[in-house]
Symmetry: C2
Subunit: 126 residues, 2 copies
């Protein structure tokens, strides 16, 4: 699959709510995942499909998703962007019980038909 | 200005239709601008504020903008993403006279309070 095919497949699976299945199918074994901010529980930078799978499972377990919208992809060479808008209620941490809208974009890098890096962009309000 | 301040200023000016003024105010002199595809008239990669200014003026001259939406910014470290949706009619080239919706995202890099690189992502349909 070329970058655009991988991008379209990721968007299609995420639209079906298959976030973890998408990672299993499309991510390389040495995937690097980078958030804007980390916490003691979850560092900003993770490496390897096992760590990324654990992050995905942790996220699913700790958030109730009321609805979500997945837009894109916007490709450029071996990279592409996807936008995620999610209406969620966190079950843990300082935001526990609060319903909120997450609005973020992911920047993905593809090599040899697999996603090798994901970076998330969002406004931390400061 | 930090990256988020620069990002918010760019979005604010673009929402007012001040695309060229935003470049003058926020871009560094050695700005690098990268499109997905170039043409004989306009290469994909441009360097320097003069070349980027000429591209902006060329674009404004050759497109009628009926409406536009600017969303974001989504920051991450020294970079940020902005989404542009534009209802335009091209005045030249193979699309001359055709009204179309452009949907693209820009990925910007900031150094010392100035934008030093812009890269645009969009679906070429192949």
């Amino acid at each position: 699959m070329n970058t655009r095919d991988v991008a379209k497949k990721l968007v299609e699976m995420c639209r079906q709510g298959k976030f973890i299945e998408a990672a299993e199918a499309l991510y390389g074994p040495n995937i690097v995942s980078i958030e804007v901010m980390g916490s003691s529980e979850m560092p900003a930078r993770l490496e390897g499909i096992d760590a990324v799978r654990r992050k995905g499972e942790w996220w699913v377990k700790n958030h109730e998703v009321h609805s979500s919208k997945v837009e894109g992809p916007w490709p450029h060479g071996d990279r592409f962007v996807v936008r995620f808008t999610m209406d969620v209620t966190s079950k843990v941490g300082p935001m526990a019980g609060k319903r909120m809208t997450l609005d973020e974009v992911g920047l993905y890098t593809v090599r040899d038909g697999k996603i090798v890096q994901e970076e998330f962009f969002y406004d931390m309000g400061q």
